[in-house]
């Protein structure tokens, strides 16, 4: 039995000495956060990660705030957070609102990591132009984040550094809405300088920056600038045009058509769950929400909807459903900026500048593509109203209606919202609990 005593003490000794390595287990699907963005390859993968984050809220949740809060969509399910947008009685506990808020800051953090680390990489394979492109894209996405924060909530904490520990990027008060917009413009300016003037419908280029700037200045009522930047894209007719019929930009699994200025890419491995909310059960969806009777009537009116009636369809129980997101597998793109929007931006800017014939020409270009006659509007007010109504059907299932009515101050009249404070969404209640420096918007 002596042998076993030796074996025992020997094995105990071995155990103690090998414990340290035994307890050091490293993951295989992740890497340490100490060595992340260090060379060309990691810089490229990191910027893709920023786009992937943008998809997080642009897939469904952010878009749903934009269209549910308008007057086109009805609610058919049981989740009350959806109904709150439609009734304009959003609570600070609304889970969609907090989901979008969270996702925007996830995107911002990823963008800030790229902006923080990529400029200082020294890798011969990372050329100056590639480096500029990656940094420019990060600026563009940060600009879009602040633009969306500003138009949805008003002010937001201005954060330009990545989060490296739990103590970073907290305890920062919200800026004013104007400051958030200014941050967006600063980032757009930075991106414009860095990005190449090429055409890429899935990633930001200088042209994408111009398109967003056109929208930015429209929201800021800087009509001349809005007209100027919209014109830069419309003028590039070789790459951007209103193709007929209306549904050619999305039907038959189309993607990256000339209609598209910026769309987010999805594939079998990067699916877009958006269709599930719209499609009826027979197509594997939940039809959690659907076009309401008023919108169905508008789209099916040959004088108003024209060929845009293709946005809605009927299921096997004769119920209407939205059909912009329909693909199986779920690879529908998210259309962020379409050329039609730039026509309507320029039309509105020109109408505001009292250039009515030019304004009508842009409006009628969009109407013509939908198979409609020219607009009969003639006065400035008529033209502006015609543009508002055109946008309602042209972007019937896209997130514009709410933001349009808010920025033009028409939400009160059109949606019967008596309290203008309700034009802004509430800061998520739990965020205020966690970080009390965040001030809630009035009336919430």
């Amino acid at each position: 039995m002596k042998n076993s005593r030796y074996i025992l003490s020997l094995s105990l000794l071995l155990l103690i000495s090998s414990c340290e390595s035994f307890l050091d287990v490293q993951p295989r699907s992740s890497i340490s956060d100490e060595q992340t963005i260090v060379d060309r390859s990691s810089a490229e993968t990191a910027i893709r990660g920023v786009y992937a984050a943008l998809r997080g809220h642009y897939s469904t949740s952010f878009q749903s705030i934009g269209y549910l809060s308008g007057d086109n969509i009805q609610w058919t399910g049981s989740q009350s957070q959806v109904q709150e947008f439609i009734n304009h009685r959003v609570n600070a506990e609304n889970s969609t609102v907090s989901g979008v808020w969270n996702s925007i800051f996830v995107t911002l953090n990823r963008a800030n990591h790229v902006l923080d680390k990529v400029p200082s990489i020294t890798d011969p394979l990372l050329t100056e132009s590639l480096k500029n492109q990656i940094v420019g894209e990060a600026y563009f996405i940060r600009a879009l984040c602040y633009f969306d924060l500003a138009r949805t909530w008003g002010g937001a904490p201005i954060l330009t550094r990545p989060t490296l520990s739990p103590n970073d990027n907290r305890g920062v008060a919200r800026s004013t809405q104007a400051e958030a917009y200014e941050q967006s413009l600063r980032d757009l300016d930075a991106a414009e300088l860095l990005l190449p003037e090429t055409t890429n419908r899935f990633r930001a280029t200088r042209k994408t920056v111009w398109a967003l700037k056109a929208r930015y200045f429209l929201y800021r009522s800087n009509w001349a600038k809005a007209e100027e930047f919209a014109s830069k894209i419309i003028a590039d007719a070789a790459n951007y045009r209103l193709n007929k019929p209306y549904n050619s930009f999305f039907a038959n699994d189309a993607r990256g058509t000339q209609e598209s200025v910026f769309e987010l890419y999805y594939s079998i491995n990067e699916t877009n769950g958006h269709r599930g909310q719209w499609q009826p059960q027979q197509n594997g969806g939940t039809r959690q929400w659907a076009p309401n009777d008023a919108l169905v009537a508008l789209l099916n009116n040959p004088e108003i909807g024209g060929t845009r009636s293709t946005l809605v369809a009927r299921d096997n129980q004769n119920r209407w459903y939205g059909n912009l997101y329909y693909r199986s597998p779920a690879t529908d793109p998210t259309f962020v900026i379409r050329i039609a929007e730039l026509y309507l931006i320029r039309s509105e800017a020109r109408a505001q500048l009292a250039k009515l014939p030019e304004a009508l020409a842009d409006l009628n270009a969009v109407r013509d593509r939908a198979g409609l006659a020219a607009s009969p509007a003639s006065t400035q007010n008529e033209v502006l109203l015609a543009i508002e109504n055109e946008r309602r059907v042209e972007f019937a299932l896209e997130p514009h209606r709410w933001f349009d009515l808010v920025r033009t101050g028409r939400a009160g009249a059109v949606l019967s919202i008596s309290d203008p404070n309700r034009y802004l969404m509430p800061v998520p209640a739990e965020q205020i609990l966690i970080d009390p420096i965040l001030q809630q918007n009035p009336s919430y």
Binding site: T45, G49, Y265, N269
Partner: protein, 1005 residues
């Protein structure tokens, strides 16, 4: 050297020492036979000459032979389970000894951490359960069968689907984000108890414990206090459940047992629904009511939805049909169970071989649970000092699964229960269609194809050797291997498979290996001092891997495999955890009166931050056997009196991710099908164990030769460093990070009373009763956490875990018909500020009562379990009692027929006025119900046929859940839609536990 080393339980018993040579003056050879009361020879009985080390054991027939020096000596006959007998030898040389079974619990051997102990010498709080009484309850896993059997252990079945995860809580819950389930140890192997299921079945999960055949289990010990659990260190905080499987005995004739049973189960009752005409009437009423409230809606009698078809309506209410869907999904389920085993042994080998097959249908079509299992346990003595052995359990569990929980696509109860009764299953073209956003029930039942197969091996190989007298070494290797293969196929008739089919497959493997060494030294010095020392170490490694794929786009519904899909995707996962541990226990016993012990375990875990890789878990315990004191020794009324106290620290790391402490970036954030990376989690190098300090005070007493005995335990557990996904401000770009931030306490008592009420020759009656109360409280939580659908569950400092957060409804105003809610902040409006905590899932008391009766060949066991004072949120009613506002989108329950209609109506169902507003508000307390219950959990009656030819032939009947006394209006007061630990007590689309009857035969040869 006759140390019987096979069972660890024998280790601490005084065992006979070698029959060495003694000075031989007047040696007398004595022969004899030891039998049980039925004259059956008893093998393995130890025989020792009093005050010496001279001894022997009986052979397989019960015969023995011993040589004693001279006359006037006393022989001691002892055998586990029998009363020890002392026999004075005068001049006879042949003896006939009959041993009586020992029914005194005091000498019962109880398995403890890394050893065993006689009950009378226990310091800790340990419950021992004989699974034989409950193993016929058709629930799949043995833990679910134990409900009500163990004081202080709350077991909730959640669902009527056999083999699904149950919630087991030993003395409450200690954690928010770590797992609150106890540690399961099978024959020394720490087994996986976390579900391997990845397929969504509406919040439900299969139980890996159901892989174990209850018929193979010899005994179950539940370790509850710190003295008992501290040797399990960082995993002992939620209690430890030790499972010992059956083994043979040395010198035992082969014994074959058969057990066959067959039975049926059905739902006690189903939901009461409105008929089509009633549904339509309610919808019209809601329509007109809302039109009155808001004239701009233009809802009037004239344009009510159910008006004559000629006016463009859906037809008058009385013209509506009623379609029954519930009857289609519920069935009378069949239950089958077959077990066979062979046990025996020679003088150096003992064996147990068991095989079992169980097939249980759920009362909900098409769900089934089948388990085939096979067991081999072997022990072999190499020589007097060395013994080796193996334990092997193989099982294959096959499940036909279906979504019996929350969620629309594929939801069985949604399709059957939530679809309005007036809607035809056919559309205008005569095609079966799903209504209200749910699947069509008929199509669903016909095409459901979700299956899983769990292959499980749990095994252990040990060698035990006596290195020196009293010093024993044991080394063992254990393995728990689980291969879990699941697949789904959804064809185009179903929502999930629309428009062109979907198939998924996932194979998960969880493997654990465990290596353990222990050294045990036990010595008695003089008459009064006895002590033991245990030291040991364990290395454990858990690896979990998973490969999953899915395919969409099938040419037609005949193709089902992913390989025939147009588009396929795949993914994989890997994680690993290592744990290194050292432990020791020292115990001391003075004259059987004063007992103390001290134990400590050191655990090093790869999951924790570098700064806190090692944790230390000490405990100390003491007991005073007052009965042994002189002043009580001769008091016959009192047969035992013992006071116990213990204090110690245990930990919990269950449910914590393998790499939780590290700062990580992950791949998978691809864009345009090219790889992308992104931050995944922030580092927390200080991450460590939860620590639970527990104090236990216990009293054991027995009276009248143990005819009446009770055990009382008072405990206080305080958990600090509670693992918490600490929420971070969203502005950081992270939702949360793992930290040790919560503090939770549990305190309560457990009382167990056992009585032998009658003990006659032909008739006996005994009763066991247990009751426990646990008071749970969140002692520290910096901000509240919300869980469950509609934030129904709130966790807040100062409140118990799992409190319901609702709008408190006071009454329905007979004048207006409106619900009156409590305006907590008195601002004249009912807003989210007025939500408050009303009740929780915790019962005030819970436990069980068992009565055992025997009369001649008959035996009966009547077992009730009960809970008092807990609440369940009946979410089915929230959807089903919408007062017509959900129109064609949901069912209406019959209770809505009792709604307020005109001033003066006194009712608790308000006027239909909308959904999620005013009267039918999301989170209203009307649907929060008292779920106290008293349930006849099992009633079994057996008859042993008195025939000489076949001595062990017994026929029996078992009835399960034959009646339930409850105020709960749902189908089952134990229902919970989710298996997730932070969302208990919400009943939504959950099938009830069925009533069952089974008939069976036991045969032992």
């Amino acid at each position: 050297m006759l140390f019987a080393l096979g069972l660890a339980s024998e280790c601490l018993l005084a065992a006979p020492a070698p029959s060495s040579k003694l000075p031989s003056t007047l040696e007398v050879a004595i022969r004899g036979k030891v039998t049980d009361p039925n004259d059956e020879g008893l093998p393995g009985v130890s025989i020792r000459l009093k005050d010496t080390n001279v001894g022997t054991t009986t052979d397989s027939e019960g015969n023995f032979q011993i040589t004693v020096p001279g006359e006037d000596k006393t022989l001691i006959f002892s055998f586990i389970g029998y009363q020890t007998q002392e026999v004075k030898i005068a001049k006879q040389t042949t003896l006939r000894i009959k041993l009586d079974p020992d029914q005194r619990q005091l000498n019962e051997v109880v398995v403890i951490g890394y050893g065993s102990q006689e009950r009378k010498n226990l310091i800790g709080s340990i419950s021992k359960i004989d699974p034989a009484e409950t193993k016929s309850i058709p629930v799949g896993s043995f833990d679910a069968q134990l409900q009500g059997k163990v004081s202080g252990v709350q077991i909730s079945s959640n669902t009527g689907v056999p083999g699904e995860a149950v919630s087991v809580r030993v003395r409450g819950a200690t954690s928010i984000n770590a797992d609150n389930s106890p540690l399961y140890v099978v024959d020394g192997v720490f087994i996986n108890s976390n579900s391997m299921q990845t397929i969504g079945t509406g919040g439900k999960a299969t139980s890996p414990i159901a892989d174990i055949n209850p018929a193979d289990i010899e005994s179950i010990e539940v370790l509850k206090d710190a003295e008992a659990t501290a040797l399990y260190g960082s995993r002992g905080a939620n209690g430890v459940i030790l499972i010992s499987t059956k083994r043979g005995k040395f010198n035992q004739k082969p014994k074959v047992s058969f057990n066959l049973s067959q039975g049926w189960a059905k739902a006690e009752r189903l939901w009461e629904l409105t008929t089509g005409p009633e549904h339509a009437t309610l919808v019209n009423e809601w329509w007109i009511n809302t039109g009155q409230d808001t004239p701009s809606l233009n809802r009037t009698f004239a344009n009510r939805p159910f008006r004559p078809a000629s006016e463009g309506g859906r037809g008058l209410p009385e013209e509506q049909q009623t379609y029954d869907r519930l009857g289609e999904i519920f069935r009378t389920a069949s239950l089958k169970n077959y077990d066979i085993s062979l046990a025996g042994g020679t003088n150096t080998t003992k064996y147990y071989i068991g095989g079992g097959f169980t097939s249980q249908e759920s009362i909900l079509r098409p769900i089934t649970f089948d388990r085939a299992s096979f067991k081999v346990n072997l022990d072999q003595k190499i020589n007097d000092k060395v013994q080796i052995g193996v334990s092997n359990t193989f099982s294959r569990t096959f499940r036909n699964q279906a979504r019996a929980g929350d969620g629309p696509a594929g939801g069985l109860l949604q399709a059957a229960l939530h679809t309005p009764t007036y809607l035809s299953p056919y559309n205008e073209q005569g095609v079966l269609v799903g209504r209200a956003g749910f699947d069509n029930v008929t199509l669903l039942l016909e095409h459901y194809d979700v299956k899983s197969v769990s292959l499980r091996y749990i095994g252990n190989l040990y060698a035990e050797a006596e290195l020196l007298p009293n010093l024993r070494f044991r080394s063992s290797w254990g393995i728990d291997y689980n291969n879990y293969d699941e697949s789904e196929y959804w064809n185009t008739f179903l929502i999930s498979g629309s428009p062109d089919g979907l198939a998924t497959s996932s194979i998960g493997q969880a493997s654990t290996w465990l290596n353990e060494q222990t050294l045990t030294y036990r010595k008695k010095i003089g008459a009064n001092h006895s002590f033991g020392v245990l030291i040991g170490n364990t290395l454990q490694s858990d690896v979990e891997t998973r490969t999953a794929s899915s395919g969409r786009g099938f040419a037609n519904n005949s193709f089902r495999l992913i390989s025939s899909a147009a588009t396929t995707t795949g993914s994989s996962g890997w994680s690993k955890k290592n744990l290194a541990s050292f432990f020791s226990r020292v115990d001391y016993n003075y004259a059987g009166k004063y007992l103390v012990d001290f134990s400590i375990r050191a655990d090093g875990s790869s999951s924790f931050g570098a700064a806190n890789q090692w944790g230390y878990f000490p405990s100390v315990g003491a007991a005073w056997r007052i009965k042994q004191e002189n002043f009580l020794k001769d008091v016959n009324l009192i047969s035992d009196l013992k006071l116990r106290a213990s204090y110690g620290t245990t930990g919990n790391q269950n449910g914590l991710g393998s790499f939780a402490a590290l700062g990580l970036w992950s791949g998978g954030s691809s864009y345009q099908d090219q790889p992308g990376i992104a931050p995944q989690q922030l580092a927390n190098p200080n991450l460590q164990w939860e620590r639970t300090n527990q104090f236990n005070l216990g009293l054991n007493a027995a009276f009248l030769q143990e005819r009446v005995s009770f055990e009382l335990n008072l405990y206080h557990k305080y958990t600090s460093n509670g693992l918490l996904q600490l929420n971070l401000p969203a502005t950081t770009g992270f939702g949360s990070y793992r930290s040790n931030a919560a503090e939770i306490s549990n305190r309560g008592f457990e009382l167990e009373i056992n009585t032998v009420n009658l003990k006659k020759r032909d008739f006996s009656w005994s009763t066991s009763f247990n009751v426990a109360r646990n008071i749970n409280k969140i002692e520290k939580l910096d901000y509240p956490l919300y869980y469950g659908s509609r934030d129904l569950i709130l966790m807040q400092q100062g409140q118990p875990l799992y409190s319901f957060w609702v709008y408190k409804e006071l009454y329905v105003d007979p004048e207006t018909g409106n619900s009156v809610y409590e305006d907590v902040n008195k601002d004249g409006r009912i807003t989210v500020e007025d939500r408050q905590i009303v009740g929780s899932v915790w019962p005030k008391f819970f436990g069980g009562i068992t009565n055992n009766l025997t009369y001649k060949g008959f035996d009966a066991n009547v077992f009730f379990s009960y809970q008092y004072g807990n609440h369940v949120y009946n979410h089915n009613r929230f959807f089903g009692e919408g007062g017509g506002a959900r129109d064609a989108a949901r069912i209406i329950f019959a209770n809505n027929n009792n709604r307020w209609q005109k001033p003066g109506d006194v009712t608790d169902v308000p006027r239909p006025d909308g959904v999620n507003v005013n009267n039918y508000r999301d989170g209203g307390s009307r649907w929060l119900e008292d779920a106290s219950f008293l349930r006849l959990r099992s009633l079994s009656i057996g008859y042993t046929i008195p025939t000489r030819k076949i001595p062990g032939l017994r026929v029996y009947f078992v009835g399960t859940n034959l009646f339930t006394l409850t105020k709960y209006t749902g189908l089952d007061p134990e229902s919970s839609a989710s298996s997730s630990q932070n969302q208990p007590g919400i009943d939504l689309g959950t099938p009830p536990q069925p009533q069952g009857i089974q008939f069976g035969v036991n045969l032992t040869l």
